[in-house]
């Protein structure tokens, strides 16, 4: 067993050693080492098992696989303990993702449900399960609910948005770029501020590109599209000929 284990290890180690010299950053090295072990170990032990299986018999081959799996277990547990102890680096974006975790948003959930209901209604109407009058009545009621929820949501994020806009404005001022449309991306951190098209909320200069007015309408199907869209989101027709040719 020990011998076969060593065989599997020898298969995995050289493979793992390659990037060690190539990458200077120790964290990066460890990450790539992990990746190599994750790929090399199963592959290596299966290969060795195949070789052993063909040269001797099935029994030893199974033992090689078992040894490979045991090595895998050991390295996984080692990785687990090291991660727990804070020695091992985390995958690049995991920490960022974890930092962005958020609680359950009751309003968003409610809104999602209402939109779902509207979508269902639309489908039922299309396939003829509900008649015009009923559809209009129920859809109108749901729309009203949706608006209530959206108003609530807007009210909730209003202070945040003002703050974001303030930060953006200061940032722009600092860089001397007040009013440059390119930097309008800044306040988009909070999800819902992207489309403040509620007329009751005063449009805030630089941060708001005034999307409602510039929304290009598709020439073929008359769908209203995002301001920066190159193609119609419904029928796929080209919206701006010049930009479209540049698009990858």
């Amino acid at each position: 067993m020990a011998k076969t284990a060593r065989a599997a290890r020898s298969k995995a180690k050289p493979a793992a050693a390659i990037p060690e010299s190539a990458k200077p950053s120790p964290e990066e090295t460890e990450r790539s080492l992990g990746r190599w072990v994750a790929r090399g170990l199963p592959l290596g032990s299966v290969l060795v098992a195949l070789v052993v299986g063909f040269t001797t018999s099935l029994g030893p081959a199974i033992l090689v696989l078992a040894a490979g799996a045991l090595l895998g277990t050991i390295s996984l547990l080692w990785a687990s303990v090291r991660t727990l102890g804070g020695d091992a680096p985390l995958p690049e974006d995991l920490e960022a993702l974890a930092a962005r975790r958020h609680g359950v948003d009751g309003l968003a959930e409610h809104k999602r449900r209402i939109l779902r209901a509207l979508k269902d209604l639309e489908h039922e109407y299309e396939v003829g399960k509900i008649e015009q009058a009923d559809y209009d009545e129920i859809a109108a009621a749901y729309r009203e609910q949706a608006k209530d929820v959206m108003r609530d949501m807007d009210a909730d994020i209003e202070p945040l948005r003002e703050r974001a806009e303030e930060i953006a404005r200061q940032h722009l001022k600092k860089r001397g770029l007040d009013g440059a449309p390119d930097d309008a991306k800044e306040p988009e951190e909070t999800d819902e501020t992207q489309r403040p098209s509620d007329p009751s909320v005063p449009a805030a200069g630089a941060s708001d590109p005034g999307d409602a007015s510039v929304r290009p309408e598709c020439t073929k199907c008359a769908t209203s599209n995002e301001p920066d869209a190159a193609f119609c989101k419904k029928c796929g027709a080209t919206l701006h000929d010049v930009e479209a040719t540049d698009a990858p």
């Binding site: 687990s80 449900r113 979508k119 009923d134 009203e144």
Partner: protein
């Protein structure tokens, strides 16, 4: 090399294996701890450690399985399990399948499948659901821990035999080596084990309190996958029984079959009711309950199979693991209950205050503990008639439950505002309502099967009387329930979400209803002439009024079944017509390349359905599943027109059976290494004398056990019916053969239906495509990932595994029963063989000598002119009520149908009350709603506000 290896491994290999099991336990325990702490501290680092730990556990379970495999390959007969299930002569393939053949190994196999699921699940989780992940991992690890404890302490596959190594093992029972036996238990396992993942999500959602739509989406896919495999496993089980057992049927309502069927019912209920939660945020408690119940049922099913608590042809030998299972089940139920109660406020959309939590927990437990005194009375050794016991139990429990609900809850929540902000139903004429009816129907069915399955256990505990519940009981009761659910399935489809306009509903009902009536009329008119009569009378299961009512209903089952099938098909076709018409109108149908339509329609149809927006795709995939079920149902209905016949033929003679004429050509013998095979060659002719096919039923006589030859069924399949021939005996001198013939109409439709069902499920599971991907690539990726996951499942299922039962059940195969006429078959079908060896076979199917004697005695009584009831009563007097296939219709025994019926009725009332309350809430809020549209119409003159544009936008982005 191998001598070197064996010296290296030395005497400690079995010990090494046991140590590995303990190591799995330790590692799973470590991972459990880390996962819980990751949940508590919410740090990505701890979570990552838990993920590594989970992978480590998976790998270590792999090592354990590989070690057991090695023990089999190297014939390590020191290990009891290896010695018991293999011998030196076995081929390597069989050696490997013996891995999960017996009790101990099959638990390891279960754990192994679970570990594969865990690996896939943790990988799939990746960077999603970061908040749920820790608890998902922790729950899965807890289940792993249970199986480890079970194996390490009660059913260790590595345990050594006290007597030391034997020279050779006992080997496999050759009678149990057949293909369907190989594939159906593992595919059920894939389904069973798969139910663990949704359960883990449910627990995680409950613990974190993130009961929004997130965990539903996460668990739905896994549930659908498990559900599909439960369906496949059950169908394969039917196929196995049909092809191998030789009694001409496919489902015997055996406890183990029921155990496999029950999670399927609850999973079906969940798949439907979850849609309401997705859309309305209602039924949260119900969905959590269904998921827990499904998981509970899988463990309970395993318990039934493994503990020997209920006699069954499938069961493994009795062992001590029953206690562990019971403990686990109790723990599981208590844990799930407490968790649900703790999250009661969130689940019911109430303000989550501490006091409310406590009120819910205390009330819940008071209600549960209310059963305790009653149970003590029921199960205790108090001398009292069973009826009185049941009566006192019911009354005392009812009083305490009422007290718990009313007094404790009221008192603990006094002063709290308990008006929840929940949405209301627009209309009873909506899909929401029909889904609730569907849940009610499915759960009623579950309850019926559950009570009947456990009834022998219950009566023995309560009154000490042994009874058995056989197929006649189920057949009598299940037909009304099944047909009700079946018709609900069709009717429910006609309704749309939210509200269905009456005019639209009438239109939708018109054609299916017309077809329903036409079919029924046609069936009455010509059914009898073509061999499929509309009404088939059978014997009543009970004397008296109830028996007559059931008998009358079941007599009409054929015509109801067939017309309901036509009705349901018409509805499904109509749905698709409506879909394609609306697609043609909006121009969405242009996405399907025209060439696919030219290729015969089906590719175009499938492409169109697969490329629907996800929500619609699931919906129409569901209709395809429904169509599969319609096919299966038609196959079940065919059972009514079965023709059974027996004949003894000499060479060249022929006999007419139904529309066929069967000619016995002659015997033929073949030999191979392990057995002698005696075939009875037959020609199947139609009435005109044209040969339709040749079949050869056979007896196989294995060298290892010449005393019990196996019966090999021969069949001629057509879509219309199967000619099913079993050879009873063959006389080598006179060359006569006694043969049994069954003409089983429409059985092929069951298997066809299952294939359609799989197809529909795959369409539902088709992965969501990212809009950013190019279309072709997305399609390829979607197809590949579905194909890969299904293939993986099928491979797992098809891996030649054998969960063969031990010992006595082999008699199942080894003979055939001679039955002279239909009256006799019906009579024998009500009586059980009491030899004690065969688990619970009926006299009509059991082939042992005790049964032969009993049959001979009964024939004598029939000849003496005794009535059927008289004979049954005498048999029961002689052998006790356990000898009857149906529990006697008297006293407390009536509980077997009275309790489920009462609960079903209560469920219906409860459903009515709930719906009325929701409707009322709808009316309360509707005045406001009605005013609002009016007000809005007023606004509309000034033009829709900006929110409308936003809603339109978001609706477009929302998947259809």
């Amino acid at each position: 090399m191998s001598s070197f290896l064996s010296s290296l491994l030395g005497a400690t290999f079995p010990l090494f294996g046991s140590t590995l099991l303990l190591a799995v336990m330790v590692v799973a325990g470590y991972t459990f701890g880390v996962a819980v702490s990751a949940g508590a501290n919410g740090r990505a680092r701890t979570l990552q450690a838990a993920r590594f730990g989970a992978y480590g556990t998976v790998a270590l379970i792999g090592v354990t399985v590989l070690c057991l495999a090695y023990a089999f390959i190297s014939h390590d007969f020191r290990i009891r399990y290896v010695a018991h299930y293999s011998d030196r002569s076995m081929a390597i393939g069989y050696l490997l399948t013996a891995l999960w053949g017996g009790q101990d190994g099959s638990l390891l196999w279960w754990l192994f499948l679970l570990s594969i699921y865990i690996g896939l699940c943790v990988r799939w989780l990746g960077k999603r659901h970061l908040e749920l992940q820790p608890y998902v991992i922790a729950t899965l690890m807890a289940v792993v821990l249970f199986f480890c404890v079970l194996m390490a302490f009660a059913a260790n596959p590595f345990s050594t035999s006290v007597a030391g190594a034997r020279a050779d093992g006992e080997g496999l029972n050759p009678l149990l080596q057949n293909f369907y036996m190989i594939i159906h238990p593992p595919s059920l396992y894939v389904g069973f084990v798969g139910c663990t993942i949704p359960f883990a999500f449910a627990v995680a959602a409950l613990i974190t309190g993130r009961l929004d739509h997130e965990w539903i989406v996460a668990s739905r896919k896994w549930m659908l996958f498990a559900w599909m495999f439960l369906g496949i496993g059950n169908t394969l089980g039917m196929l196995w029984a049909y092809e191998e057992l030789g009694w001409g049927g496919y489902w015997a309502w055996d406890p183990v079959e029921n155990a496999a069927f029950m999670p399927f019912i609850t999973a079906s209920a969940y798949i439907h009711s979850v849609m309401i939660q997705e859309r309305r945020g209602m039924l949260k408690v119900w969905n959590v309950f269904l998921i827990c119940l499904t998981f509970f049922m899988t463990i309970f099913g395993t318990f039934l199979t493994r503990s020997g608590a209920i006699a069954s042809v499938h069961s493994f030998a009795q062992s001590s693991i029953g206690t562990y299972f019971v403990l686990f089940l109790v723990l599981l139920a208590a844990f799930a209950l407490t968790l649900v109660l703790y999250r009661w406020p969130e689940l019911r959309d109430l303000p989550p205050t501490k006091r409310l939590r406590w009120a819910a927990i205390v009330t819940g437990w008071v209600v549960v503990l209310a059963f305790a005194p009653g149970l003590v009375l029921l199960l205790g050794k108090i001398a009292m008639p069973a009826t009185a016991k049941v009566g006192i139990f019911a009354i005392s429990t009812g009083v305490v439950v009422y007290f718990g609900l009313e007094v404790v809850y009221r008192w603990m929540t006094r002063g709290l505002l308990l008006k929840s902000q929940r949405p209301a139903f627009e209309s009873v004429l909506s899909r929401e309502f029909t889904f609730m009816l569907n849940n009610w129907g499915l759960l009623s069915f579950l309850l019926f099967v559950l009570v009947a399955t456990t009834f022998p256990m219950i009566t023995e505990a309560v009154s000490g009387e042994k009874v058995s519940v056989g197929p006649p009981y189920y057949n009598a009761w299940v037909q009304p329930i099944g047909l009700t659910i079946f018709s609900l399935m069709g009717i429910g489809t006609l309704f749309g979400w939210k509200k269905t306009s009456e005019g639209a509903l009438k239109r939708a009902f018109f054609w299916p209803a017309v077809l329903l009536v036409l079919t029924a009329a046609t069936h009455f008119a010509i059914g009898g002439r073509i061999g499929y009569p509309a009404v088939v009378w059978s014997d009543a299961v009970y004397a008296g009024g109830l028996g007559s009512v059931l008998r009358a209903f079941n007599a009409f089952t054929p015509v109801i079944g067939v017309s309901m099938c036509v009705f349901n098909t018409a509805i499904i076709v109509q749905e698709f017509v409506m879909l394609f018409r609306s697609r043609a109108k909006t121009g969405a149908g242009k996405g399907t390349p025209a060439i696919l339509w030219w290729l015969g329609g089906l590719p175009g149809f499938l492409f169109s359905v697969v490329t629907l927006a996800p929500a619609s795709r699931r919906r129409y995939g569901g209709y395809i599943v429904h169509f599969g079920i319609v096919c299966m149902f038609l196959g079940f209905t065919g059972k009514s027109w079965t023709i059974d016949k027996e004949a003894t033929l000499s060479q060249g003679e022929s006999v007419a059976v139904g529309d066929y004429r069967l000619q016995y050509v002659g015997p033929r013998m073949e030999l191979d290494n392990t057995k002698r095979m005696v075939f009875a060659d037959m020609n199947v002719l139609d009435n005109g004398g044209k040969i339709l096919g040749k079949i050869a039923p056979a007896k196989f006589i294995f060298k290892r056990m010449p005393e019990s030859p196996t019966t090999e069924v021969a069949m001629l399949h057509t879509l219309k019916d199967d000619v099913y021939v079993v050879v009873g005996t063959m006389n080598p001198q006179t060359k006569t053969a006694s043969l049994q013939f069954h003409i089983n109409p429409l059985v092929s439709l069951i298997w066809l239906g299952c294939i359609i069902l799989i197809g529909g499920s795959i369409i539902c599971m088709w992965p969501q495509l990212e809009p950013s991907e190019s279309r072709v690539w997305a399609f390829a990726r979607g197809g590949a990932s579905v194909a890969a996951s299904v293939c993986l499942g099928v491979i797992l299922a098809m891996t030649p595994a054998r969960a063969f039962a031990q010992g006595t059940s082999s008699s199942l195969h080894s003979g055939t029963v001679h039955i002279e006429d239909e009256g006799e078959r019906a009579l024998f079908g009500n009586l059980r063989c009491m030899c004690g060896g065969c688990a619970r076979d009926l006299l009509s199917t059991c082939a042992c000598s005790t049964a032969d004697d009993a049959r001979a005695a009964i024939r004598k009584k029939v000849a003496a002119g005794e009535s059927r009831d008289q004979i049954i009563n005498e048999y029961a007097a002689e052998w006790g009520s356990a000898s009857l296939a149906i529990p006697p219709d008297r006293g407390a025994m009536r509980a077997i149908y009275a309790v489920p019926l009462a609960v079903i009725a209560a469920g219906a009332v409860g459903l009515g009350v709930v719906v009325r309350r929701w409707r009322r809430k709808g009316d309360d809020s509707s005045p406001g709603d009605r005013k609002k549209p009016a007000a809005k119409n007023g606004e509309k003159s000034t033009g829709p506000d900006a929110y409308d544009a936003r809603i339109d936008d978001e609706l477009k982005d929302l998947d259809g």
